[in-house]
């Protein structure tokens, strides 16, 4: 049931599949898509996408809003934010961001 959205196990389980992380990436790039839009350019059947979306919705990583006849899917950042809040904490965040920026910069230099 979606009301169990605070269940951390469901969030981790939902994140533990590359197909579902790909769906989240698609929503991050373009939030508020229909099932049809999400299926486009994906090497997955419509049934598979529907199944993965259901698991993401149960974990509240994806939420839907009805607009007219369409059902739009949105990435909900709250569960991941809550996980970060729980284990990363407020004091380490600044240092982690600095490290992430350094990593991105160095990797950018190598790739470039």
């Amino acid at each position: 049931m979606a009301a169990m959205g605070t269940d951390v196990d469901m969030v981790f389980k939902a994140l533990a599949a590359p197909e579902r992380r790909l769906l989240l990436d698609r929503l991050r790039a373009d939030n508020g898509q229909t099932l049809g839009e999400l299926c486009r350019h994906l090497q997955m059947t419509r049934q598979a996408v529907t199944k993965h979306l259901k698991i993401l919705e149960d974990a509240t990583l994806v939420v839907t809003i009805r607009r007219g006849r369409e059902k739009l899917h949105y990435l909900n950042p709250m569960p991941i934010h809550d996980i970060a809040e729980r284990w990363i904490g407020k004091y380490e965040r600044g240092r982690l961001r600095a490290l992430a920026e350094l990593k991105a910069k160095l990797e950018g230099e190598i790739d470039g």
Binding site: A2, A3, G5, N31, T60, Y74, N76, P77, H81, K90
Partner: protein
């Protein structure tokens, strides 16, 4: 995409009445919403604003629709950054829905404009504020980082 829109959903172990008060009453908002309060008569058409601890306005707008303990719709314009204020009004909706012993809080914030700077800016703010609101209602204490206005803003 012809608009910018983000949706945040969080489940809070509380009642719709308590959650509504926490979202609107100064004694609560100060604790988890960066020390700010809101001023409004809370009826459709009434003006609305977020007041910073120094008394100045952070954001302002109007109450579009209000159904206490269930739904609040605001027209919302940033007043702090000229480039964001220039984007005009966004539309922010709070929806509260009881589900067992939890209340599902949905925050839908949209602007009829692609790549809105304002919607992008609030997209990092909402999770912080909502996470602190949840912690406040469930434990009695908000998250420390959200108890005061950030320095230099």
């Amino acid at each position: 995409m012809a608009e910018s829109e983000f949706v945040y959903v969080t489940y809070i172990r509380t009642t719709p009445e308590k959650l509504w008060r926490a979202l609107t009453e100064p004694a609560f908002t100060r604790k988890f919403w960066m020390g700010t309060t809101q001023e409004s008569d809370w009826v459709p058409g009434a003006s609305w604003r977020i007041v910073k601890p120094d008394g100045s306005t952070a954001d302002s707008g109007k109450v579009v629709d209000i159904e206490p303990y269930r739904r609040l719709v605001l027209k919302w314009q940033n007043q702090m950054f000229p480039e964001m204020a220039a984007e005009g009004f966004s539309r922010m909706t709070f929806e509260l829905e009881q589900q067992g012993e939890m209340v599902k809080l949905s925050v839908i914030h949209r602007m009829e404009k692609p790549e809105s700077l304002f919607i992008k800016a609030v997209s990092t703010g909402w999770p912080v504020i909502l996470s602190s609101l949840k912690t406040l209602l469930e434990t009695g204490e908000s998250l420390q980082a959200t108890r005061r206005w950030p320095e230099g803003m």
